[in-house]
C-alpha cells in the first residue's frame, strides 16, 4: 500500500475544479494527467489490437465457411454475463502468486474479455449476411477464394466490423479506470485518489476526464471510418441502416 500512497496526487483539499484542471502541474509530471492518459491509451490500444487480431480473422473465416454458429451464442453470453471488475479482481491474486505483479496482466485480460464479444459478433454476422448473390457472382467470375473473402465478404462487412470495433473501444476505455482500484494507475487514479483523500474536486475532475476520453474515442473512430473507408463502402453504411 505504501507504494500507492507515495504516488498519489498531492492536491490541497479546498482547490476548485477549474483551478485544478487549469493548473499546469495537474497535467505534467509523474502523476500528471498526460502521463496517466498515456498509460490508459497504451493499455487500451494493446487490448484493442489484441482483440482485433484474435477475432476478426477468426470470425471472418468461420463465417465464410459457415462454421461455428454456436460460437455466436457463447459470445453473446460472454458479453452479457462477464463482470469485468470481478474477473480482474480474481486474476490479481493469481498474477501475484505467479510473480507477475499487479499490472498489467489481470486488467489486460479482463478488458480483452470485454472487447472480444462486440467485435466477434459484428464480424461474424456481417460476413454471414453478405449478399450471397454477390459472393456467387464473384466466384463465377473467377475470383480466388481468398479474393472472395477479402474483396467481397470482408469489404462488404467492413462498416459493421468497424462499428463493432468502435463499440468495443468505447467500452474498454470507459472500463479501464477500474485498473486504479486493482493496484495500477491510468486515468482512473484521480477518482481513486480523490476518494482516498476525501477530495471531491479530484473525484469529479477524474470522472470528467474518463468520460471525455470515452466520448473522444467514439468520435475518433467515427472520424477514422470516414477517412479510411472508400466511398463505395462508406455509402453502404447509410444504405444498410436505412
Amino acid at each position: 500500500m505504501s507504494v500507492v500512497v507515495v504516488l498519489q496526487a498531492a492536491v490541497p483539499r479546498d482547490i476548485g475544479l477549474f483551478e485544478w484542471l487549469l493548473d499546469g502541474d495537474t497535467w505534467t509530471g509523474r502523476a500528471g494527467i498526460l502521463s496517466s492518459l498515456l498509460d490508459t491509451v497504451i493499455l487500451c490500444g494493446a487490448v484493442m489490437a489484441t482483440a482485433i487480431v484474435l477475432t476478426v480473422p477468426l470470425a471472418t473465416a468461420l463465417a465464410h465457411y459457415r462454421k461455428g454458429e454456436l460460437t455466436l451464442t457463447w459470445f453473446v453470453t460472454l458479453s452479457r454475463a462477464i463482470p469485468t471488475f470481478a474477473v480482474a479482481g480474481l486474476l490479481v491474486p493469481i498474477a501475484l502468486k505467479r510473480g507477475w505483479g499487479f499490472e498489467p496482466w489481470p486488467i489486460f485480460l479482463a478488458l480483452l474479455l470485454l472487447a472480444l464479444p462486440p467485435i466477434y459478433l459484428n464480424t461474424y454476422t456481417a460476413v454471414r449476411q453478405v449478399d450471397q448473390g454477390a459472393v456467387d457472382a464473384a466466384r463465377a467470375m473467377g475470383f480466388r477464394e481468398r479474393d472472395v473473402l477479402f474483396r467481397v465478404e470482408l469489404a462488404l462487412a467492413m462498416t459493421v466490423v468497424l462499428t463493432g470495433i468502435r463499440v468495443a473501444a468505447v467500452q474498454v476505455v470507459a472500463t479501464e479506470p477500474i485498473r486504479a482500484f486493482l493496484g495500477g494507475d491510468g486515468l482512473g487514479r484521480y477518482v481513486r485518489d480523490g476518494l482516498g483523500q476525501n477530495n471531491d474536486t479530484l473525484v469529479v475532475g477524474g470522472a470528467i476526464l474518463v468520460a471525455a476520453l470515452a466520448a473522444t474515442t467514439g468520435l475518433a473512430f467515427a472520424l477514422l471510418e470516414r477517412v479510411v473507408l472508400p466511398n463505395g463502402i462508406r455509402r453502404l453504411q447509410s444504405t444498410q441502416t436505412r
Binding site: M141, R235, L236
Partner: protein, 374 residues
C-alpha cells in the same frame, strides 16, 4: 450435328455428399455454337446443378464436360470461369462498387489497361441499353430491370464465347421480364454467344430458346428439341403435361405471319369496274370486300353499301371499317387477336405500307398443322 458443339456434356453425373440419389444422372447434351439452349424442368430436376457444373461451381462426380472440345477440368477453375459469362437471378452486383466498376470486374482481373477497360465498359453500356450517366451510380440506385442489364453487361465484359444464365429474369415483374427477354434476343443477334439458360417458365423457354432441354427429377433428359417440336410432338406424357394443355396456343407465339401462305382475300382494286366485285365476294364467301389502290389497302366496304349505291364508283363507296392490321413479323397470336376483334374476321398484312394480303383463322390453323420451317 456433325459440327463440334460449343458445349458437350457426356454422361455427366452429380451426387451430392450425404445424398442417396444422384441430382443429375448420366446426362448427355450437345449445345450448338451460337444458340440459346434452355434447361427447364420441375424443381429438383438438376437444371441449376447442370448449369453450375459447366463453370465448375459444382464439380461433377462422373462424366465429362467439354467446351470447344476441351475438358473443363484441364485448367484451373478460376481461369476457366473468367472465360464464361454468368448471370444469376439475384444479379449479385457488388453494392460497394459503381456500375462501371462492376462491369469492369473481369477485364480488370485479366489485366486489361485502363483505356481498354473504359472503352469496353462504354461499349457494353450501349449494348445493353444503359445510359452513360448510370455508370457512376451504385447498384442500389438502379431499378431491378436496370440492375439485370448491368448483370448481363458484366457477364459479357471480357467477351466470353459462352454465357450461363440462371433464371436471369426471375426476380423482375412480368412486364420488365418480357422486355428483358426481347432485349436478350436482340442482343443475341449482335453477339452470337452460346447461351445456356435455366428457367422454370415454359413460356420464357419457348420465347427465347432455340432448343429446349426438358429435364425430369434426377437430371433425366426427357426431350431435347426446338420449342416448336416440343410443343407439336411431345416425346411422352411427362413432356406433354409439363408444357401444358395450351401448347397449341403457345405455338402461336412462335410463328410469324410471314410463315403463313398469305392470300389476297376478298380485295378489289379501287380503279376496277364494279362488276369485279360479285365474283370476289362469291369466291371468298364474304359480306365485305377490301379496296386497294397503288398497292395500299384503303379500307373495307360492305356488300350492303355496294348494293345500295348501284351507280357509285368503287373508289367513292363508303369505307365502313378501317383495316385491322398486322405486320409480317407479328406473331400468329397477335394476328389471332386482331382477327377475333375485327368485324370482317380478317387481318390485313401491312408490309411496310404496302398491302401484303389478308390472314384468316383458317390460314392460321393450316399453318400450325405443319412443323416450323416447312
Amino acid at each position: 450435328m456433325t459440327e463440334q458443339p460449343a458445349i458437350r456434356l457426356d454422361q455427366v453425373s452429380k451426387r451430392f455428399p450425404g445424398s442417396e440419389v444422384e441430382a443429375v444422372r448420366s446426362l448427355s447434351l450437345d449445345i450448338p455454337r451460337g444458340s440459346i439452349v434452355a434447361l427447364i424442368g420441375p424443381s429438383g430436376c438438376g437444371k441449376t446443378t447442370t448449369l453450375r457444373m459447366i463453370n465448375r461451381l459444382i464439380e461433377p462426380t462422373g462424366g465429362r464436360i467439354e467446351i470447344e472440345g476441351v475438358d473443363v477440368t484441364s485448367r484451373a477453375a478460376t481461369e476457366l470461369r473468367r472465360g464464361i459469362g454468368y448471370v444469376i437471378q439475384q444479379v449479385g452486383l457488388f453494392p460497394h462498387r459503381t456500375i462501371a466498376q462492376n462491369i469492369a470486374t473481369v477485364p480488370k482481373t485479366l489485366g486489361w489497361d485502363r483505356a481498354r477497360v473504359d472503352a469496353r465498359v462504354e461499349e457494353l453500356a450501349e449494348l445493353v441499353g444503359l445510359e452513360a450517366e448510370m455508370l457512376d451510380r451504385y447498384p442500389d440506385e438502379l431499378s431491378g430491370g436496370q440492375q439485370q442489364r448491368v448483370g448481363v453487361a458484366r457477364a459479357l465484359a471480357a467477351d466470353p464465347p459462352v454465357l450461363l444464365m440462371d433464371e436471369p429474369f426471375g426476380a423482375v415483374d412480368p412486364i420488365v421480364r418480357g422486355r428483358l427477354q426481347d432485349e436478350l434476343l436482340a442482343l443475341q443477334t449482335r453477339v452470337h454467344k452460346t447461351i445456356v439458360l435455366v428457367t422454370h417458365d415454359i413460356d420464357e423457354a419457348v420465347k427465347v430458346a432455340d432448343r429446349i432441354a426438358l429435364l425430369n427429377v434426377g437430371g433425366i433428359l426427357e426431350q431435347y428439341a426446338s420449342a416448336d417440336e416440343l410443343l407439336r410432338t411431345p416425346a411422352n406424357a411427362f413432356v406433354e403435361e409439363f408444357v401444358g394443355e395450351d401448347r397449341g396456343m403457345k405455338r402461336l407465339t412462335l410463328r410469324l405471319v410471314s410463315d403463313l401462305i398469305v392470300t389476297d382475300g376478298a380485295v378489289v382494286d379501287a380503279e376496277a369496274d364494279r362488276s369485279a366485285v360479285p365474283p370476289v365476294l362469291r369466291a371468298a364467301n364474304s359480306d365485305w370486300f377490301g379496296l386497294t389502290q397503288d398497292g395500299r389497302f384503303l379500307g373495307w366496304v360492305s356488300r350492303q353499301d355496294y348494293e345500295a349505291q348501284p351507280s357509285t364508283a368503287l373508289a367513292d363507296l363508303p369505307r365502313a371499317l378501317p383495316a385491322a392490321q398486322v405486320t409480317p413479323d407479328s406473331t400468329l397470336r397477335r394476328a389471332m387477336e386482331v382477327i377475333m376483334t375485327s368485324d370482317t374476321s380478317t387481318a390485313v398484312v401491312d408490309d411496310g405500307g404496302r398491302f401484303g394480303g389478308v390472314v384468316t383463322l383458317e390460314q392460321i390453323r393450316a399453318g400450325l398443322a405443319a412443323p416450323e420451317g416447312s
